[in-house]
């Protein structure tokens, strides 16, 4: 039995917000009976793009993470819903019944992902429902995946076994796995959002002129153990990435011309720009 899933690639998301705009185009002012009431024009982010900026000028990057209802297989919201107002369909889609759910404001709190939105005007809870009305009329995708220019937002219908295999093989992650809600929305390259880097640049004095130091060996050491090694590039730049946030103290050992020239301490809570290191 194949079921619907979403795969988001954080490295390919440009924050163009087309997925959010297309979802609004589909739902604001439109009622889809049996599926959803019209979306509120303002204040709802059925697809909510989180962002993370790391580092400081000019050793800096930014990543975007579109989030939405995860269509959890063990959905906390279903447990709290009265009158069967939320159901899990066989194809994996979680659906909030726009009629039965009316007035059930407690559902907003029930979603640990903050993805049930309260429609003030209609007094009803709402979520990104996978555009189920389109899926059921034969669309092979959602408005968000149709419009996404880079393929950062992909919907696919495969068996749970295949999906589990794919997730493992391709290092896909879910958000807050510790909740055990079993989300059906997976992320590629989530480390761009969730981890930290240590970056900087090396320079040296060449006959009275400061030049970039290319090809120096850098070793990042934590508690006496080497975490990673790399060589500085033609700008003298280095960047050790995918370090856990708040992972504490590291030592950076710099080796040029076969000799350890310098060690620098780095303390990682968030990403660190060590700036220009004169060797």
């Amino acid at each position: 039995m194949s079921k619907w899933n979403v795969i988001i690639d954080v490295a390919e998301c440009t924050n163009c917000n087309l997925c959010t705009l297309a979802t609004m185009d589909e739902h604001v002012g439109n009622e889809w009976p049996g599926y959803s009431a019209p979306m509120q024009k303002h204040g709802h982010r059925w697809i909510n793009i989180l962002q993370k900026e790391r580092g400081t000028t000019p050793y800096f990057d930014a990543a975007y993470v579109p989030t939405m209802c995860n269509h959890c297989d063990d959905a906390p919201c279903i447990k709290v819903a009265k009158d069967g107002a939320i159901r899990k369909r066989e194809d994996g889609i979680v659906l909030i019944d726009p009629v039965k759910a009316k007035g059930q404001k407690q559902l907003v709190e029930a979603c640990p992902y903050g993805h049930i939105w309260w429609n003030e005007e209609l007094q009803t809870p709402q979520h990104w429902n996978f555009d189920a009305h389109l899926i059921d009329s034969g669309w092979g995708k959602t408005r968000a995946s149709q419009v996404c220019p880079t393929g950062a937002f992909v919907t696919l219908k495969i068996s749970d076994e295949e999906m589990a295999h794919k997730a493992k093989a391709e290092n896909l992650e879910v958000i807050k796995p510790e909740l055990n809600a079993k989300p059906r929305v997976y992320y590629r390259n989530l480390w761009r959002y969730s981890t930290a880097f240590v970056a900087g640049t090396l320079s040296h004095d060449v006959g009275g002129r400061i030049e970039c130091l290319e090809g120096a060996k850098l070793r990042l050491v934590k508690d006496g153990k080497t975490v990673a090694e790399q060589a500085s590039d033609n700008y003298g730049d280095f960047k050790f990435d995918r370090l856990p946030e708040n992972s504490g103290s590291y030592v950076l050992e710099i080796e040029a011309a076969g000799k350890t020239k310098k060690t620098v301490d780095a303390h990682v809570t968030e990403s660190v720009n060590l700036g220009d290191i004169r060797v």
Partner: protein, 1014 residues
Amino acid sequence: MSFDTLKFSTVLFGLAQALKLSAWQHPSFRERLKERNLVAQVKARDEEIGRWYQISNGRISSRKGLHAKPDVTLSFKTAGDGARLLTPPINWLEQINAQKDFILTVDGEEDLTNWFAQTIMQSQTAGWKFGTPMPGGVMRYCNMTNGGPVFVDVKDDKIIRMMPIDFDDKDPPPWTIKAKGHSFTPPRRTTIAPHGQNTKSIIYAPNRLLKPMKRVDFDPNGARNPQNRGKSGYVEISWDEALSIVSSEIKRMKRDFGPGSIAVSHGSHHTWGNIGYYLSALFRFSNAVGMTRVHHNPDSWEGWYWGAVHHWGHTLRVGQSETYGTVEDCMQNAEMIVFWSADPETTSGSYGAQEGTIRRQWLKDGKLGIKVVHVDPFFNSSAQFLPGKWFAPKPTTSVAMAMAIAQVWIEEGLYDKEYVKTHTVGFDKWADYLTGKEDGVPKTPEWQEKETGVPAKDVRALAREWGRKKVYLAPGGWGNGHGGACRNQTGIQWARVMVCLIAMQGLGKPGINMGNLQWGCPLDFNFYFPGYSDGGMSGDLENTGMPVELYQRMPQLATMNSTFQRIPRIWMPEALADGKAEGWPWVGKSIEHQFAKFAYPAPGHSPVKMLYKYGGSIIGTMNNTNRHVRMYQSEKLEFIVNQSIWHEGESMFADIILPACTNFERVDISEWAGFGGYGHHGQQQLNHRVIIFQAPAIKPLGESKTDYWIFNEISKRLGLANYFSEGMNEIDWVKRHFDASDLPKKISWKEFMKRGYYVVPAEKEKLRTPLSFKWFVENRKKDVPEPHPLPSDYTEEFLKGLQTQSGKLEFECNSLKRFADPERPPIVKYEPSWEGQHSGAMFEKFPLQMLTPHAKYSFHTQGDGKDSFIMNIEDHRAKVGDYYYWIMRMNPEDAAERGIKKHDIVKVFNDRGAVLCAALPTHRLGRGVCHGYESCAVYDPMGEPGKSVDRGGCLNLLTPEKTQTKTTHSLAGANALVQIEKWDGKIEHMSETFARMEPQKKAVEPVAVLEPAK
């Protein structure tokens, strides 16, 4: 009875039958017939024969012969002429010639003759069917946003959805590029820009103008109260009243003041569609009436037109280079792309949706082995999407960085010496400047560091890497100019030095060219479909691209403005409020056209007393726009009419407002990214060429009308309607446009109206355009498909060499040797910005350099405000309390120093004005720099305009109006000095513009009496 007479009679009889048949078949036509009662006579003057048609209470009757008192008479010189001209298929060239030669004449009241002509036309089109039925009572139409084509799903006269087009089996396959052992093919669909996907929400915007309106304290026959513009409210009036006020004001102007007294001002863009576009219907109308034109500056191309053209020509591309074949060459041969003030992921190629994004994504997995580098004071969206080394020079200073790169190339021998010898002139002169031989100051990386803040060692490393690799240089969003640093104070120098850099590396050699994969796709450019700047139905051979090809293909009555007076756009407030301005023209014909200064007022012309304003974008898009508030309130302007879709920007300064509808409420035709004119083959940005039949999706909302209808109604009152419309309805012009293109060879009109789009098949691999500048490298005749430059602008032989005097790339520009301008010396030199770190007291008072680049989510004012979906995007506006504030990005340390936190309401100000924004501290900027997008749609002064803070986000209230140099009509406003502080809740803020007026004003101005808006 001669054969001609017989034929003429038969045709006239046939016409009566056709009208009756159409009325019987089509309810819409039956309704049309109820609009007027009249007798129309059609006759041949030679034999005094003919037939008359009576339309009375919706019924048609017809008799052979001559009516005693017809209301409308259509006469042909001879029966033969009549038979020839009325027998289908209609030949428009013959029709027009017959009018010009007075073989076909019309007599009668303009309203009736025009109505009758349009009714005859409508009888033939009433049965045309648009769109494709979908399940559930939904109709699917196609249309075009400025950000890409869309399917429009409609039910019960309501737009349900708009989405980019997924191609089906009937559509042709895309192209494939083979590079470095891999194949690359774009997906079979169209993409869309955010402002395009936002369109449904702005069609149904709460500030749509739905009824004509009059300012409450404006009385055309009494007190006009110009000083209250922007302060008073409006009352709704009927269309009839609005149109009669506008038309009688036009007549009064011409009668009382003479030529030149009416000015027309429009924005740089419009809603999409070749017939309804401003370069089409508006130009035809304003030429027919005769108006002082507001002469545009080369917006967003500034540095290229006033600077780069002197080095390499390309005036017909506003100073940007040809780009053919560059996607393939870049992918196959380049090793690095330098994005220099280039952010295509934000600017979407203006109209190119996300098409370039898809191609640039191919750079990301390393298969092509192309590195990227970004040079921009702001960590822009392209730097985010395409990781690479980021250089962050201070705003306006990267000219110095470029010179240091060239200096290193000279010092270390890292440039193409042979190419410089054979393909360029004047290098030694520039080299003398760079090495310091000329002025004793070598332009080294250390020298530039003091200006730019970029470490010398990094610049040296970049110069070395660049000098050893095959590099594509990509300045501006298009990769060959447009936007970016060409819009600030040093923009001319910047564009010039960009050309010099690529000239040193061998422009046109494999892998060495201009571009960032935004332009240069391998499409079919021999298939003709006109672009919007080809002028549509304008008949304007002077101010549009019409003479190139469209005029011959779509014969129409030529139009010509009898008023030669022009206003330089940058100085519109000074011209209109003070009565004087000087400017420099933007004309693409040659390099030297830009040197011909013009002045307002023109000799013998009236100063402008009436403004016909189209849209309300200027206050958000021009610079130091409190000047425009003063202009609007000037008593020198006796009448202002504004024709707009939305009540926003400067519509609040009009005396009369005419509500126009969007292109989703009318019919039109167009091609995606088909600019024509100065953006010849703009479709190079696309992965597929897509031509759209823009079917009306819904009826115009409220009492809003199409621009065409409004112009035609005013024209009727001026006796100009038959000249303006040629007796046609909009759909007839659309059909003529279709016939003028190559479409009829590929798709039937019926099918095109039904399906709504046509995809031009990609070019066969063998027939792809040659690579730009390859011909130049190889000293061959130019072989890329652009008709530029003009034949007379070649030096040695037609098609050989560039447009410059030498035919080569000129480091030392011959044109600038002939036109002495101390600010533009023949070789490019670095002169720091007059608004920046060297500005002394001003810099002390306003220590932050504010960047205002093109916006990511809106397209200038399009898509912003209007209670649109985009308002919800946190990087566009932030909701604080119950208001959506414009975003001001600033360095976190600068923010902390001022006690500013995320989404605090801050006052961004200088002497020119003050704007409230929501602060967003971010390390995307270095110290001393802040960033907010240019041109929001909302102008919302909290108190009196000109004397209070604006909370709409109009940052252009703060930007300098001064041109980059004295002898250019160039904007410099993309960088301004400002101060930012937490807003203290005060509403008053006296702008410099108003402070200057205050002494006189107090003495002369009567106290305004404000009536409440009804």
